[in-house]
Symmetry: C2
Subunit: 364 residues, 2 copies
């Protein structure tokens, strides 16, 4: 997996400038890169607070100098031992999506942690529904009953922005999610007399943060994919192809002139199996580029990865594009979903030959 | 990832008995488990020859006492250094799918290796097409011109058996693939006067080997998934649910009564994103079971994993099945494609608490 350091650092810089412009605390999601080395690029850009999506990731980054971490995955009972360990060492926040999990914290938590209530802002994956007044009330009251818990506020992740196409749709999802969080915050400040509590609104998704220009009442943003971007984000409308900072280097192992297919060493164990549908409803597992010494080209027209098995990738081309590559060449593929491809590849190679770490390549 | 040692060993035993019955050399594909420990169970069952799908896997197993390995992925130029290293140590076979790759072997191969010509038996992924007489002839002649290459014969992988449903369709794919290989072998023995060469036919896929009962002229079989099986294989018709030897243990982190969905910690980075379509055309990413101390139940009706994001899995249930699990429980999920799930999880836990290795969990 090749990493274009300049593009990645530019992505980080844009991220920081936008957060500064709107006076938002930037707590970038490190689940995309999962790398200490890339984390340091964020630190150099002034970042001190981060988001991760598992206890394992939190532990990895805490061991490597990060002292303010939010685990934006619902807390569950089996994590308590690791949570206690981390909470004894760093400022830790967790996400709460039901009162049941608070019972475990009441019984077994030994150190203070911050908690955000996760609200379902329309994605319908996790989070309390804004209309579930009784459960939200009960959850907040339960948090205040436990002196080890510091109630931080409400977080949302508008994951359904991934189904949006274009800025208008992304903005609509962003706006709706934001209004839900504003409404919830106002409702429970009033209902439970929390006027003196510094309750926050924390927003999640990369498309919304990339595109939106309105962040009223937002305290914190947690975009992650933005450091790398990928083909999916270009389809959504969050970025352009030339902002994608990672590409896979894949040897050409066979060519089939009868069906204009090129076979590469690069399969499901390298890319993962995420795909997007192209304009004609065909699955697209990656976009082919020409690799250069210090970068790569725009996607080559009429050429995309259409099938993946464990180790093989199959690229379908037009008759004209078929001759672009010969057996023995190494071509580039921009991943559909860079978070999953990075997780599968477990390291990054820069153009000057350095190999950067990824959590999954480490023994932790 | 839980491994039922008894089921796995029974699968291996059935494999060995069937190969013995038909007098076939068993060269099981280790890409499914990628484990030294599980490899030893094969060795105890009398296996000495194995198949892998990458140079990396071949190196891993060669380092751990396997001395007869076929890499059933097309050889390509960038592998030559590793091939030379391995060929100096063990009996190595590679797959050839075009004359171009033979040029590299001619120039740079330092030790003798066996070569199989891979024939496309209908899958249309890789392999020479049986009708490409000129290319096959040229490839065979080129092999004989290189004294370092030992021509072993023809291999096929009827990967399109994965689109079959039921024994009849699997048998049809098996029979057609076998006839293609028999025909190719007979044609080139005649055409190039190879009557004195001990040319083999080597067959690949798990569904065909699981179901078929005719193996005339077959010398070798290379099934892999058979050691574990998975939900996909039950849909194809290769096995029953009670033969599946692996299951994922996933904590329940949330429940949504309004839409009868259960959220688990178990996502794309654990399962991979392979799916099958159920009878109603819905995506199924895994089948839910009850975990016991020493095994698991049959799949629970009206309950399947319908979505995966990076860390989350979403299980859809009927209203009745919704109460089967509570927040804080740990449930089991039978994977759709065990090879990819094992590759993502990087180790196995047995019911007596041992942790078995997987190549991807090792630093190699």
């Amino acid at each position: 997996m090749l990493l274009d350091e300049t593009k990645c650092k530019n992505n980080i810089q844009r991220l920081v400038e936008k957060a500064t412009k709107y006076d938002l605390r930037l707590r970038p999601h490190f689940k995309t890169h999962q790398s200490i080395a890339i984390g340091e690029w964020f630190r150099s850009a002034g970042i001190a607070s981060i988001t991760v999506s598992s206890l394992k990731m939190a532990t990895y980054f805490a061991k490597n100098g990060w002292a303010d971490i939010t685990i934006a995955f619902p807390f569950y009972a089996q994590q308590i031992e690791g949570i206690n360990q981390l909470a004894s060492e760093i400022d830790l926040n967790v996400a709460i999506v039901n009162p049941e999990s608070l019972k475990v914290l009441k019984e077994k938590l030994d150190y203070a942690i911050g908690v955000y209530i996760k609200i379902d802002v329309g994605t319908h994956r996790t989070g309390l529904r804004p209309e579930d007044d009784e459960v939200i009330t009960q959850t907040i009251q339960e948090i205040f009953r436990n002196p080890m818990l510091i109630f931080k506020g409400f977080m949302g992740h508008a994951g359904h922005s991934y189904r949006a196409r274009g800025e208008e749709e992304i903005n609509k999802v962003h706006q709706e999610g934001l209004e839900i969080l504003q409404q919830v915050k106002a409702t429970y400040i009033e209902k439970l007399s929390l006027h003196d509590e510094p309750l926050e609104i924390s927003l999640g998704d990369t498309p919304g943060f990339s595109v939106a220009e309105n962040f009223p009442e937002v305290d914190e943003v947690r975009p992650g994919n933005l450091a790398f971007y990928d083909v999916m984000q270009t389809q959504i409308g969050s970025c352009d192809f030339d902002q994608i900072a990672v590409a896979m280097a894949c040897p050409v192992v066979a060519k089939h002139a009868d069906r204009h297919e090129i076979i590469i060493h690069g399969g499901a164990v390298h890319f993962s199996k995420d795909y997007i549908l192209d304009g004609e409803g065909n699955k697209n597992f990656g976009q082919v580029v020409n690799l250069r010494e210090d970068g790569w080209s725009d996607p080559i027209p009429d050429m995309q990865v259409v099938r993946l098995s464990q180790e093989h990738g199959v690229i379908k081309t037009s008759p004209e594009a078929f001759d672009t590559f010969q057996i023995g060449d190494v071509l580039g593929v921009l991943p559909i979903h860079s978070c999953l491809t990075a997780d599968a590849m477990k390291s990054y190679t820069t153009f000057d030959g350095r190999v950067l770490d990824h959590l999954e390549g480490q023994v932790v």
